[in-house]
């Protein structure tokens, strides 16, 4: 049988996508039962389910590319913090409803444009995952940008809450478009999109969403980054300790 070997950069590219979906999905799980409106318990769980499902598809693909010796659960539950390659924005705590809605708008807009492009990826399996993800991201974005409009253009208090969250999160958005060797490889072989093009699309849409929500786009500050090198915020250790607790306490068992 012929062994197909994939470039480690290809595997890393898929792994990063999987980690973003997993860590954001993990955060969204925290809303269950705690949403202000029961309708939002249902809606947030929907979004979380999409992200967890996407993470499973992507991590499984990363395992396949890597020779199939590991499973999605090995990647989720057995890696150490520095091996996770998600954007820092994904791992920040859920905050209040305003905070969560702002983050979703920033990331769902990103994912909408990213997966739109990934539908044409030279990696067929990734393109298939993208075709499913784009539908999900479209509906997440519709839901969350409606909320952003209502909160931004609602009362003084709701406006202040979303504007504060936006100001606080803005410095984490630079990382979404900071291309490194992995992204350049992905672009060169047609796996992934051009991030500067993605950045333009994202900026244009975010500007229009913020305008509609009567919010002010923050001034670009020096970006905070490091997730893709495995250098995380202080919040990541707690997230992983929680997520991996059962597997770490009882290694090697079936559940």
């Amino acid at each position: 049988m012929r062994e197909t070997t994939y470039d480690p950069a290809h595997i890393e590219y898929v792994l990063r996508l999987g980690d973003n979906a997993l860590i954001l999905g993990q955060r969204l799980c925290e809303w269950s039962g705690h949403s202000a409106l029961v309708e939002e318990d249902v809606a947030m769980a929907n979004i979380a389910l999409d992200y967890i499902g996407r993470a499973r598809d992507l991590l499984t693909l990363a395992c396949e590319l890597d020779g199939g010796n590991q499973s999605e659960d090995d990647l989720a539950f057995k890696r150490d913090e520095e091996e996770f390659k998600n954007f820092l924005l994904c791992e920040l705590p859920i905050g209040d409803f305003a905070w969560t809605i702002v983050r979703q708008v920033l990331l769902d807009t990103y994912h909408f444009h990213l997966y739109d492009q990934l539908q044409r990826s030279s990696d067929q399996k990734l393109a298939t995952i993208a075709a499913k993800s784009i539908k999900e991201s479209t509906s997440h974005l519709r839901h969350c940008s409606h909320w952003l409009t209502r909160l931004g253009d609602g009362t003084d208090e709701s406006h202040r809450r979303v504007q504060d969250a936006l100001n606080e999160q803005w410095r984490f958005t630079g990382e979404l478009f900071a291309a490194d060797a992995i992204d350049e490889f992905a672009l060169a072989v047609g796996i992934g999109p051009d991030l500067s093009d993605l950045r333009e699309r994202w900026h244009a849409q975010i500007a229009s969403i913020l305008h509609h929500a009567t919010l002010t786009q923050p001034i670009d500050a020096p970006p905070v980054a490091g997730g893709r090198q495995g250098l995380h915020t202080e919040h990541m250790a707690g997230l992983l300790a929680c997520m991996q607790s059962v597997q770490r306490a009882y290694p090697g068992l079936e559940w």
Binding site: C29, S35, A36, V42, L49, A55, S245, Y250, W255
Partner: protein, 322 residues
């Protein structure tokens, strides 16, 4: 001597009871005795609150589920419970009471929710035990309620029952894996059964002889089977399920009775039952705190929603673009 209006009411009540006896469903616009309405509001809102508060104990474990598949299943299960809460709130609203009022009653402590959700989830096996036992007990009760006399309640129950069987299956599957797993996992499963068994039996409420609302509820067919009948049904079905898992139900008095054709079982600790109902169970304070926090956030969100809707209304009436 009866005044004319008393006579009229007595006639209406009699006609109402006849409809109930003919198994006709009562619908929101139909005349109904005020006590029937109040009884339904009490029971249905308690049921709705239970679905919503019921997200909390299992919700603790979504973030800690040991595999991604289990995480997704549990997330979907807890999401269903929120959905059940919504069906039941809207069904209760057909009786002329708003969700805000119902939530206020919950936060003020005048409306209850199922006492079972005041127990803590300590290990992953608790998620299995809750699905198997707590959802299992809920189904026994809810199947019976599919035939309740109030139309919107009965229809909500039919929808809910369809989803509940998935809840029990995922719980029992977790228990099966643990029971066939390592010694630690088996111990974890047994410990969960030990802790959840008696609180689950309490879910069916006091003995029929001590149940304040039972007689009238049965006559109005709001309840179709008594607390003790339903509890017996649950015990009977659970024994074989525990046996299949190789786990021991923590009740020395549990024994098949040939004459009754049912299992005999031990007495519930009714002091514990009352304490939990009175707000002094292990997690009552935490559950209410979580709901209060959610309600505080709901206030500013609702404020924003109303303000935005008002701005939109003004904009559309003055023709300005939004």
């Amino acid at each position: 001597m009866a005044t004319p209006s008393n006579v009229a009411i007595a006639e209406l009540e009699e006609a109402f009871q006849q409809r109930i006896d003919r198994e006709e469903k009562i619908e929101p616009k139909d005349w109904m005795p005020d006590a029937y309405r109040q009884n339904l509001i009490r029971q249905m809102s308690q049921h709705a609150h239970s679905e919503v508060v019921g997200q909390l104990p299992e919700g603790e474990w979504i973030t800690r589920a040991p595999t991604l598949r289990r995480k997704a299943i549990l997330l979907a299960k807890v999401q269903d419970e929120a959905g059940h809460g919504l069906y039941l709130y809207s069904a209760t609203e057909t009786l002329g009471v708003s969700r805000e009022e119902l939530t206020e009653q919950l936060l003020a402590g005048s409306a209850k929710y199922a006492s079972i959700f005041n127990y803590p989830t300590l290990t992953w096996a608790d998620v299995g035990a809750i699905g198997w036992l707590v959802d299992g007990a809920a189904i026994v009760n809810q199947i019976s309620l599919c035939r309740t006399s109030y139309g919107p309640y009965a229809r909500a129950m039919v929808r809910i029952c369809k989803e509940e069987s998935f809840h029990v299956r995922q719980g029992y599957e977790i228990m099966t894996v643990l029971a066939r797993g390592s010694a630690e996992q088996r111990a974890m499963a047994q410990d969960a059964l030990d802790r959840w068994w008696w609180p689950t039996l309490m879910m069916f409420g006091p003995h029929d002889t001590d149940s304040a609302h039972s007689g009238r509820s049965m006559r109005w067919k709001i309840k179709r089977q008594s607390n003790d009948e339903l509890r017996q049904k649950f015990v009977d079905q659970s024994v074989a399920q525990a046996e299949f898992l190789g786990l021991a139900i923590p009740d020395k008095a549990l024994k098949w009775n040939d004459t009754r054709n049912h299992f005999d079982f031990g007495e519930i600790d009714w002091d514990e039952f009352r304490a939990v109902l009175d707000g002094e169970g292990p997690c009552n304070h935490e559950r209410m705190e979580a709901r209060r926090k959610a309600d505080e956030e709901a206030r500013w969100i609702r404020g924003a929603t109303l303000a935005y809707a008002e701005k939109e209304r003004v904009r559309s009436s003055t023709g300005t673009e939004s």
